[in-house]
């Protein structure tokens, strides 16, 4: 039997074309033209998969997602988001959408998302099967147990029963999950050792106190759901451990019944979501990286083709202006490609700092050397100012120069994009106070709006369209944090931008590492769920 899929989009074209593709993939497709109709159809038909647009005239996609997830948490929902609307995409992932695809819709991406959906469904079914097998196992054990009871009643030695019980207890304690059993009043009647180690001894107390430090049952409660319908339930939810650490957890519940089939208790299996999510986020970041970078590279290659063609065309027509224009495009594009490749290498690289004492004035000179050709070419005045008495500081000169060049290049570009006729200038100033080495980059370019300012350090955010990788400022921010430093941005559209970078002066090399444990390991996205 084909799996059913509900497709909600207010655009008829998209419904039709997507519908055909989904049918081709072997689904039975239901469609709805707005959120209300979609929700009604969902309630009526209960399809396991929903694909919905995020922007719709009545209920927006995120609200719809929340309702569907609340009513039927196992429903797999794929969101369709606008191109570049990463915030909505991330929001939907946080609301437990399985995946998102962006417009214009690429069928391959949709297929990939559906593959994930199918994997989710398959693993849930497997888990269910496994849990059912467990039930069988428990039944088998119970039979054995009653045999043992029989044995005891027959007044044989009581030792055997003791051995069985202690083995059972051992399994209960040693499974790599938090295991608890709750009664109908949300009270913990027994907990395993792992749970007690992480949450403390809470037997006899309410689960919401033990797991969440709350005074009343949670709004969404899989224990209550299982008591009501006798089925398995699963949720993702933040929990608070005994040491105050909050972490995202995956929680499964299963009913425990007495001989008459009445549900007397619910078994709760809890595990930390962090590991699972880390892998997911890393994959998501790699995917974004590939998409964003390949897009940029294609544009640049086209630019390069163009430059060469224009030069050729100029040579054929013996027109110097065309030759010069072509050459300038080739030069620009080549430097963009170089920048992108370096960004990618830096992003992928192991990022341990090599710290040594460095004369700040020397760092400024080196940085200026990299910037000057570009500034000159763009007709932007570039001024460096250094305080007279700068003493050496511990830092990684190569990395810090990369960070400074990124910021200053953006400043020059902001000047270039300002359409007013004035002659622009960028001032790069370095100074010191007893605690900080301070770099200040001021431009009188076009300035940034609020959104750009808020998102400028986000991975893959770029205000430069296909020209930026969205890596530069992310890397800059990371380098500064690795140094234990801070970066401050002051900017308004039309008024230019001031960026101040402060690096602590008296850090010994070995302190840097211990100060920044979070910068080690694979690149983590700045968004996502609460890190463990």
């Amino acid at each position: 039997m084909n799996r059913r899929i509900l497709l909600i989009d207010d655009e008829e074209d998209i419904r039709m074309v997507l519908g055909v593709s989904l049918k081709d993939m072997g689904y039975d497709v239901l469609t709805a033209e707005n959120g209300e109709a979609g929700l009604a159809l969902f309630r009526k038909e209960g399809p396991p998969i929903v694909v919905t647009d995020i922007k719709m005239p009545d209920i927006d996609g995120l609200t719809l997602l929340r309702r569907i997830k609340h009513e039927s948490p196992n429903t797999e929902v794929i969101m369709i988001t606008g191109h570049g609307d990463m915030e909505a995409a991330i929001e939907s992932l946080q609301q437990e959408a399985t995946d998102f695809i962006t417009k214009p819709i690429d069928i391959q991406t949709l297929e990939n998302a559906l593959t994930r959906v199918e994997e989710n469904i398959a693993s849930r079914e497997k888990l269910k099967e496994y849990t059912e097998n467990l039930e069988g196992l428990v039944l088998e054990k119970s039979i054995k147990l009653s045999e043992v009871e029989q044995v005891i009643q027959n007044d044989y030695t009581r030792d055997e029963f003791g051995v069985f019980q202690s083995r059972f207890r051992q399994i209960f304690n040693d499974v790599p999950f938090y295991l608890t059993v709750q009664d109908g009043d949300y009270r913990l009647t027994s907990t395993n050792r792992r749970f007690a180690a992480a949450f403390g001894d809470h037997v006899g107390r309410h689960c919401y106190e033990a797991f969440k430090r709350k005074d009343e049952p949670c709004r969404e409660c899989p224990v209550r759901d299982t008591f009501q319908d006798g089925a398995y339930h699963q949720i993702n939810t933040p929990l608070i451990a005994a040491d105050g650490r909050t972490f995202e957890a995956l929680v499964w519940t299963a009913p425990i019944t007495d001989a008459s089939g009445r549900i007397t208790h619910v078994a709760v299996l809890t595990t930390e979501a962090a590991d699972v999510l880390e892998v997911q986020e890393h994959l998501a970041s790699l995917g974004l990286m590939l998409a964003s970078v390949s897009h940029g590279i294609k544009g640049m290659l086209t630019g390069l083709d163009g430059g060469v063609y224009i030069m050729e065309s100029g040579l054929n027509k013996e027109r110097n202006d065309l030759i010069k224009e072509g050459l300038s495009i080739v030069k620009h594009t080549t430097s963009r490609i170089r920048k992108m490749v370096l960004d990618i290498l830096l992003f992928a690289k192991e990022r341990e700092l090599t710290v040594r004492p460095v004369d700040p004035a020397e760092l400024v000179r080196e940085t200026a050397k990299t910037i000057l050709p570009k500034a000159r070419e763009c007709g932007v005045e570039f001024i460096t100012e250094a305080d007279g008495s700068l003493s050496p500081c511990n830092l990684d000169p190569g990395f810090l120069r990369t960070a400074l060049v990124n910021v200053i290049e953006n400043a020059v570009e902001a000047c270039l994009e300002d359409k007013t006729a004035k002659v622009h200038k960028v001032v790069f100033r370095v100074s010191q106070n007893p605690s900080w080495l301070i770099f200040r980059i001021q431009d009188d370019g076009k300035g940034m709006d609020r959104e750009t300012k808020e998102r400028m350090f986000d991975l893959f955010f770029s205000s430069k369209g296909g020209k930026g990788t969205g890596l530069g400022m992310y890397i800059t921010d990371r380098i500064i944090r690795q140094h234990g430093g801070e970066i401050e941005v002051d900017s308004e559209p039309g008024r230019g931008t001031v960026i101040e970078i402060r690096i602590p002066r008296d850090l010994a090399a070995d302190e840097l590492e211990s100060k920044n444990p979070e910068v080690e390991g694979p690149p983590a996205l700045t968004y996502g769920r609460t890190p463990a």
Binding site: V17, G84, P104, D106, I107, Q108, G299, Y309, I329, G465
Partner: protein, 120 residues
């Protein structure tokens, strides 16, 4: 009078490239780097063909496409999509053709000739 092609792309280098290419083949050209400029260019004189970049910021390429398709006066102008987004074919399936960056010049010119014929 030579046939006119409107080039829409947010990368000025690519605009220059396409304009030079089309001019070298005898076509007249007009250019726009965003949706608003594109509408202004349409108003200034109806082109015979449009090349449209689909991965412009805020995806206004798609918006522009939808808008112009619904327009009585401009709705029948053939459009060639030139895109860096893989398999962009999908959202604009009524386009004459979708060409992927980086594209082959001869291929593009053949598509142009196929759509509107030679320049004059």
């Amino acid at each position: 009078m030579a046939k006119k092609i409107l080039v829409i792309d947010d990368d000025p280098n690519i605009v220059t490239y396409l304009e030079t290419l089309f001019q070298d083949h005898g076509y007249e050209t007009a250019a726009a780097v965003d949706g608003n400029e594109a509408l202004a260019a349409l108003a200034a004189g109806k082109p015979d063909l449009i090349t449209l970049d689909l991965d412009m910021p805020e995806s206004y390429g798609t918006q522009f496409y939808r808008r112009i398709r619904k327009d009585e006066k401009y709705g029948n102008i053939p459009i060639i999509v030139i895109s860096g987004v893989p398999r962009a074919d999908f959202s604009i399936k009524k386009a004459v053709a979708t060409v992927h960056k980086p594209f082959d010049r001869e291929e593009l010119m053949e598509i142009v000739r196929g759509a509107i014929g030679a320049a004059a």
